[in-house]
């Protein structure tokens, strides 16, 4: 059915929650802390590696206010994604309402069109949530979204933990090639570089200091809504 989003300001408009400070915020206790932190780390690494901002926000309920309208306003207020590229995606989950809304920024609409966002909700997340596997549902949903952005195939059953490892592996591989080239030119410089890198505790991970901050991206209401 076509959802008619009210044009006139509805009396019961849900308030926009404060902008998130982490990549994954769970205000409903849907995820276990370990799963939440793992997901947060993955999305942060992805954000640093590619610049695309994928955010997960879990709340309890909107008290009957229209979901699509709230999600659009919230995305616009948080400005997820980089200004100019508009490459942000927000996955909203309302635990008590049993509703999921994926909002896609203008820049990623060709990679994650409405049909794919809808399939991710219906085929990847909803079945797992119905079965009670909450951590798995959100993790699988995030993996599917990342795979869609990167143009990799994804299926309802797959859930790859190898995504994050790939980014870090790539970073190390590039570093190794650079060190090798430098070594061939000036061995002492290469050894100095290696010493610096090991001393700082590695480059691929990024040090865990950065929180999330909206980049000025916009969305036009693309994405999908669903429930379980």
């Amino acid at each position: 059915m076509l959802a008619a989003v009210a044009l006139a300001a509805a009396a019961a408009s849900a308030a926009v929650p404060p902008a998130p400070t982490r990549w994954v915020e769970d205000h409903a206790g849907l995820l276990s802390p370990a799963a939440r932190d793992a997901l947060d780390g993955k999305l942060e690494a992805y954000g640093h590696a590619t610049g695309h901002q994928v955010v997960v926000w879990i709340g309890r309920t909107l008290d009957g206010a229209p979901l699509a309208d709230w999600a659009v306003r919230t995305f616009a207020a948080w400005k997820i994604g980089r200004k100019g590229s508009d490459d942000g995606i927000a996955i909203f989950i309302l635990a008590d309402d049993r509703a999921i809304d994926i909002e896609v920024g203008y820049g990623l609409e060709d990679k994650v069109p409405d049909a794919i966002a809808s399939r991710i909700i219906r085929e990847v997340m909803a079945p797992r949530l119905r079965a009670g596997d909450r951590d798995g549902a959100v993790a699988a949903g995030v993996d599917a979204v990342l795979a869609a952005i990167e143009g990799h195939p994804w299926t309802a059953g797959a859930s790859s933990a190898s995504e994050t490892r790939r980014w870090e592996g790539l970073g190390f591989a590039v570093l190794a090639v650079i060190v090798l080239i430098v070594f061939l030119v000036n061995p002492r410089l290469a050894l100095w570089l290696i010493a610096m890198t090991i001393g700082r505790g590695g480059i691929g991970g990024g040090g865990g200091g950065g929180g999330f901050g909206g980049g000025g991206g916009r969305s036009g209401g693309g994405g999908a809504r669903g429930g379980w």
Binding site: L2, A3, A10, A115
Partner: protein, 202 residues
């Protein structure tokens, strides 16, 4: 000697005032142009969203025809509504012409209504609902309806900003000087009964 210098001072003062007024007019004119361009750009977004919806319809009609051939009336209603949408005026002029604006809004709302009815009818055909193609189309149509609502809302905001600036003093003087160039823009009116959105069940 004294008379000449006083005339000189007055002349300078008059010139200074004229320059100030001229500069202020230019500033105001540019502001109106900027707000007008903003509203026009947002209008283009609205028409994009409309076009997106219109483009989805042939595929939808083919998919539904295959499984729900008996629902000819509903299918025909959609096809007719779509062709009517192709006939109403579009483009920049629509934003300032109340009649053209009304016509376009009506045609688009009728198409939205016809699509809604078609999807309701399609729900009664389980084999149709089960096909991936139909589900994808349904998702795309819902997304497009959402986009139309969002772009209309943003257009309304931009049009209101323009109309407010245009009507307020002293900007209204500059607007009046240029006649039709800065005509007031039309708004989307909420459909009666749209304050309570229907509950969508999945």
């Amino acid at each position: 000697m004294q008379t000449i210098s006083r005339t000189g001072t007055v002349t300078i003062a008059v010139v200074a005032v004229l320059v100030l007024i001229g500069g202020s007019c230019a500033f105001t004119y540019n502001k109106l142009v900027r707000l007008d361009q903003n509203a026009q750009a947002q209008w283009a977004q609205v028409e994009n969203a409309y076009q997106r919806r219109a483009d989805l319809i042939p595929n939808l009609v083919e998919t539904v025809k295959g499984a729900a051939a008996f629902e000819r009336d509903t299918i025909i209603a959609v096809t007719e509504a779509r062709s009517r949408v192709g006939q109403v005026p579009t483009g920049r002029e629509v934003t300032t012409n109340p009649e053209a604006f009304q016509q376009q809004q009506q045609a688009q709302d009728q198409l939205g209504g016809a699509l809604s009815r078609l999807l309701v009818v399609a729900e009664r055909y389980p084999e149709l609902k089960a096909t991936q193609n139909f589900r994808d189309l349904q998702a795309q149509l819902e997304g497009t309806e959402n986009r139309i609502a969002v772009e209309r809302m943003r257009y309304n905001d931009a049009a209101r900003e323009f109309d407010t600036a245009r009507a307020s003093f002293p900007t209204s003087i500059v607007a009046g000087l240029f006649g039709g160039r800065f005509a007031a823009k039309q708004y989307f009116a909420a459909k009666p009964g749209s304050a309570e959105p229907p509950k969508v069940k999945f």
